[in-house]
Symmetry: C2
Subunit: 322 residues, 2 copies
């Protein structure tokens, strides 16, 4: 089964999720409707809601509630992107101007808040208190992780444990919450709920590692932002951590950690060194270990088209980048 067919399994339902996301915004907030259109049209693979929907198919979830839950997860993700763009003062995302680039800052912050509230509202449509609690807990994990990064991010290279904790907070926590709540909604036995949570968790870890790898292997046109964008902002990701294991105290990286701003040519020289060092391949290998764990977690679940789709997705997440 190819990845295309994996996502095609829930293709029509994803259309319903988009409709659900566009609906429900109070009519007289015309500006907000435009924002939502802008955000929804600017792409994204809808991987998170697809995972939620697949997780709901292992049992007997109410269809409308499964659409609301998938929309809630994608809306929460969208809201965090809106605020991230303000926090990072990012002007472009996925090649499109950000809300932050076109709106007053205050309005962008408030629009993000509105989307958080709408996400919570959609989660409440499941009428399941456990799901709702997981949802708000996940937002606490995401924000807490970002705060941690702001207060401890600069100045030194994170340990592998710190890196794992950071990408869990940033990405894997919402993947895990999505598959876990999907499983809860479909009324699965607890062991299978935890298996789907594990799957989402490990898939999310791999997904973020590969995203961090793409920051070094992609080119500016494809990334929609400069190569090594994280490194330029003092954010040390897995390829750099692994590179530094064999090449500690690299002078350019030391300068970045000291909040200096090296020339672009110096940055690109480090990128070349990292690419030549094998650190990128080593990072991809670690991502493969996570997808293997994700696939392993699925063994507790009945064999059906959704399980096979999830397995193929785990494969795709790694292979898209190599």
């Amino acid at each position: 089964m190819t990845t295309i067919t994996a996502l095609e399994l829930v293709h029509d339902d994803l259309k319903r999720v988009e409709e659900k996301m566009r609906g429900g915004v109070a009519v007289h907030y015309e500006q907000l409707g435009m924002v939502l259109d802008h955000l929804l049209n600017s792409g994204g693979k809808r991987l998170r809601p697809a995972l939620v929907l697949m997780a709901t198919r292992f049992g007997a979830a109410d269809y409308e509630k499964s659409i609301a839950l998938a929309a809630a997860v994608e809306m929460l993700h969208t809201a965090t992107l809106v605020h991230d763009d303000v926090v990072d003062n990012a002007l472009v995302r996925r090649g499109n101007p950000t809300l932050n680039a076109t709106w007053p800052r205050g309005a962008t912050i408030l629009a993000g808040d509105y989307l958080f509230a709408r996400a919570a509202n959609l989660a409440a449509e499941t009428e399941n208190v456990r799901i709702i609690s997981i949802f708000s807990n996940t937002l606490m994990v995401i924000c807490g992780g970002e705060l941690d990064q702001i207060f401890s991010g600069f100045g030194r290279t994170p340990t592998l444990d710190e890196y794992h904790r950071r990408i869990y907070a940033k990405t894997a926590s919402l993947f895990a919450a999505g598959t876990e709540t999907g499983a809860i909604l479909s009324g699965l036995p607890e062991a299978q709920v935890q298996a789907l949570r594990e799957y989402g968790h490990h898939l999310g870890m791999a997904f973020q590692i590969l995203d961090d790898v793409l920051d070094f292997t992609g080119d500016q046109a494809k990334l929609g932002k400069p190569v090594a964008n994280d490194l330029r902002h003092g954010i040390i990701t897995l390829p750099v951590i692994l590179f530094l294991e064999n090449r500690p105290d690299h002078p350019t990286i030391e300068r970045i950690l000291a909040r200096e701003t090296p020339e672009d040519s110096e940055i690109m020289a480090v990128v070349d060194e990292i690419r030549a060092s094998g650190a990128v391949e080593a990072a991809v290998d670690r991502a493969r270990q996570f997808t293997a764990q994700a696939a392993e977690a699925l063994r507790l679940l009945p064999d059906n088209p959704y399980r096979r789709a999830m397995q193929s997705l785990a494969h795709f997440v790694v292979e898209r980048s190599v």
Copy 2:
């Protein structure tokens, strides 16, 4: 019954609410704990959680859930203040430096998000889906109202209807949600739930009008910010709306609406004119009409110390300022 004794009815429970608000923040987010301490120590009358607690006493609410609900309402309020201070770039609130003044902007935005998530989490502790939905809906109303104000705020004087809608979104919606959800938690019949909602709604309207009046009648030392702070920022509140009914096209106000920045002496001259015009007293009269409606709504409820406390609070809200 004086206002002091009205709040004393729930004094011990409010201590529990504060403990609840300080708890639950993940231990390793040390910075966040400090922020919460800072925010909780910087005062506020805890009027919102007191109203929630009183509303829960008309029936048989679970005690721990009533504390969680009151904490959720105050936490939501606190989170909106944190973001408001970023949106307005305010450096001082209640005479204390804001988080915005001492932290990086990005961290302040994320801290607000974290507090929103924690508020949602506390609301979920009620395990009542209706309460949780009201909660997220209220946040949508608050943010939507602020966005409306940003996009339509400058340039012209709002109608009375627009002003009412704005102060409902800004203040009365959370008062109403607090008393309504308190009533739901205590299992009251629907008519009494709606009566307590009405009470909170009208009290909140009066509260905000009086806050807007204080902007003109207070002095800088008492307000902790310049007199006529809203007017200086182009926000036209009730005293100005009523003043303009008899004195349309006031040149200084016209200039403010055109986004010019008059001299302080010109602003203070307008303030004197407004004070002398009777517009302040007329605004207070309108607030009294709202508190009268709030008191009227209470008639559907059994006569008990909590109803009497709520009546005395409605009285206090107006009389504190005149």
